[in-house]
């Protein structure tokens, strides 16, 4: 789960990394109140779970109260990469003399934590790594040993830091590693960390993503899902315990596994357009499949439903009862095609067949999709 910048800032502060004070505003009036408390000039920053805020006009420096209100009004009306701006952060403008980039994340190749430090902050670290690789240092970290202070200092010297700056920046990096570990982060990034004209080292922007599977042990974060999944159907999917991704077609997909769901998308996309990706995971019950049918049919203009399930961990015969119950209670007029294999397959076919669902008489998803296409053709 991605955190808003202000939530990330709070985590940094908890682990001892100073961040500027801030006020959150949902209206221009609140932004003005915040600016009055903090003192001008201030920076207003859109709080959205995506990058590209600068380019979209979501960040503005204001030097008068009129400017604060006007900028807040404008930013609160923006939608940045599909994310409507509901909150703007107001924070004092900080004058810096030097910027750094630092991050702790999980390296894709090795599957171990990696700390990354650059003496050129503020811009994309990927760009720096490409153009000036000597200014970026990264180091794998053993989760058992952690990031040793001596390693953090060596990284600082590695990007050319000297004197007192070494220990000050190393100290921030060690604290960032604690954020990563203590809150089960997938990434904890500060871009930029600045040295101010007064000689303080402040984090001006935080990007933190927490592992969804660890949220049960972080009640202290008090995170709500509501604003984080802007798509209504995707949020409903999450609420009933399945993964739903809305696509732009009209063939609904229900699969009992992620790989099978993606393969179904691949095959359907050859000649039709999937309306969604949906995978149930290993928790199928009659009730879940009832809800899942309801979910995929909420999208406008669905022309058919393609069910692709395996009985491995899932009791698919139970699931079939849920599908059938839904169809009996609602007027489902579009064709429903089901491919069901594995444990209890015969029982599952029986339930489907007796209730007007087209059972795929083959082991391949391709044949199932062919059947679906034929049914749509003859329905015309």
């Amino acid at each position: 789960m991605k955190l808003y910048e202000f939530e990330g800032n709070d985590l940094l502060r908890r682990e001892g990394i100073p961040v500027p004070d801030y006020a959150l505003a949902a209206t221009p009036g609140e932004a003005r109140e915040g600016a009055e408390k903090l003192g001008l000039p201030v920076v207003l920053k859109a709080q959205v779970l995506t990058g590209g805020r600068w380019l979209a006009g979501g960040v503005h420096t204001a030097r008068s109260m009129e400017e604060v209100e006007e900028a807040a009004r404008r930013i609160l009306g923006l939608s940045i990469r599909g994310w409507p701006v509901h909150k703007v952060m107001v924070t004092p403008k900080v004058d810096s003399v030097r910027e750094f980039y630092m991050a702790v994340t999980i390296d894709e190749y090795s599957g171990t934590p990696v700390a990354i430090l650059s003496a050129a902050g503020g811009v994309s670290v990927n760009q720096i790594a490409r153009e000036r690789p000597e200014e970026v240092v990264s180091r794998y970290i053993s989760v058992i040993k952690g990031l040793l202070p001596s390693e953090a200092r060596r990284m600082c010297r590695g990007v050319g830091l000297e004197g007192a700056e070494v220990s000050r920046v190393a100290n921030r990096l060690s604290a960032l590693y604690r954020v990563f570990r203590n809150y089960d982060a997938l990434i904890a990034e500060i871009n930029p960390l600045v040295r101010t004209t007064k000689g303080d080292y402040l984090a001006l922007d935080a990007k933190v993503e927490i592992d969804d599977d660890s949220l049960y042990r972080h009640p202290e974060l008090n995170l709500s899902l509501d604003s984080r999944i802007p798509n209504t159907l995707e949020r409903k999917g999450r609420e009933i315990g399945v993964t739903y991704v809305e696509l732009d077609g009209d063939i609904a997909i229900i699969a009992s596994g992620a790989g099978l769901g993606m393969a179904s998308m691949d095959i359907i996309s050859r000649r039709m357009r999937p309306a969604n990706f949906l995978e149930t995971g290993g928790a199928i019950t009659a009730e879940l499949m009832y809800k899942v049918m309801d979910l995929v049919l909420q999208k406008e203009g669905i022309r058919a439903v393609f069910i692709n399930v395996y009985g491995g961990i899932n009791p698919i015969h139970e699931g079939a009862k849920g599908v059938v119950k839904y169809m009996k209670e609602h007027q489902v007029t579009v064709p429903v095609v089901a491919k069901a294999l594995g444990n209890h397959q015969e029982e599952t076919w029986e339930i489907f067949r007796n209730n007007g669902i087209h059972v795929v008489d083959d082991v391949s998803t391709e044949k199932g999709v062919e059947l679906l296409a034929r049914l749509l053709e003859s329905n015309k």
């Binding site: 089960d184 790989g259 995978e279």
Partner: protein, 293 residues
């Protein structure tokens, strides 16, 4: 022959008294798996399907000689159970459990690697040596004995590919679900190495999906070390960027553009791997190789 598991392997089931543990224990026994013990803390002395249940792994190992263990335990219990199992000297662990925090996986991986334990998963359907034994949840009727090794990130797709191969008369030696999380214990190259050495395997099928760099890593290994032919299918050609497609590891990371099926397919093609565009095409590509040799 086979990799990881055979009909003699003495298997322990952890979480055997749970709803899923009970059902799957029966199916594993029906398949011929040599299950010698189960463990559920606090349930020692009970029996499930005639299998004795112990409170601790150490006890199950001491009394029944368990040498491999399959986990049907809740994610919260994983770290402690894994430590206990590694400490008891079990050499192979299959983690069916989904939704284990990735930091716990990284901790246990470091712990296990110092002690030479092979762990498969997490979020794996398990391992099946076809016609002999299975540790996990795969439906047995999808598999037929034969000489094709299969490695899959997705459980359901390992069934789909296996039943399609079987229907065409092409059986499997061992099928391994390597797990669908962003960090897994055993990588594709490690499994390829085992199949390369296995005299019972003539060809390996890799079923991948979007996200991560497992397939790219596999390509490097194949180029250097594999003499047996490899066929692959990568699921998720049209996946939108930045969306997690059910599996924790199945995501195309925006800015960097890593994890795309296109980059995976290109890397694999470059080292001579036959890449299927759709699952059923795997069967044709496998046939092509076997007719050739």
């Amino acid at each position: 022959m086979s990799i990881l598991l055979n009909r003699e392997t003495k298997v322990l089931v952890q979480g055997i008294t749970g709803r899923i543990g009970r059902v799957q224990t029966k199916w594993m026994l029906d398949y011929g798996t040599n299950i010698v013990a189960g463990v559920t803390p606090g349930k020692g002395g009970e029996e499930v399907e005639g299998v004795p249940v112990y409170d601790t792994v150490a006890e199950a190992v001491a009394k029944q000689g368990a040498e491999a263990s399959v986990f049907f335990i809740p994610p919260k219990a994983f770290k402690e159970a894994a430590r206990q199992t590694i400490d008891a000297g079990v050499g192979l662990i299959v983690v069916v459990t989904e939704h284990i925090p990735v930091h716990d996986v990284m901790e246990i991986r470091d712990y296990a690697s110092e002690r030479q334990v092979q762990i498969i998963g997490p979020t794996t359907p398990g391992v099946i040596t076809v016609g002999e034994a299975k540790m996990g949840i795969m439906p047995a009727n999808m598999f037929t004995p034969g000489r094709i090794g299969l490695i899959s990130r997705s459980g359901t797709l390992s069934y789909e590919i296996s039943i399609n191969l079987a229907t065409a008369g092409l059986g499997q030696s061992t099928v391994v679900g390597m797990g669908a999380d962003s960090v897994v214990f055993t990588s594709v190259p490690e499994l390829l190495r085992l199949f390369e050495k296995d005299p019972g395997t003539d060809l390996v099928v890799i079923v991948g999906e979007v996200g991560g760099v497992q397939e790219e890593n596999a390509a490097q290994f194949i180029e250097r070390w594999m003499t047996k032919p490899v066929v692959t299918y990568i699921a998720g050609h049209n996946v939108p960027e930045g969306k997690r497609m059910g599996h924790a590891g199945a995501i195309i990371q925006g800015e960097h553009g890593t994890g795309t099926p296109q980059s995976k397919m290109a890397a694999l093609r470059e080292v001579g791997v036959d890449v299927a565009m759709y699952p059923a095409e795997v069967v044709e590509l496998v046939k092509g190789h076997l007719n050739h040799s």
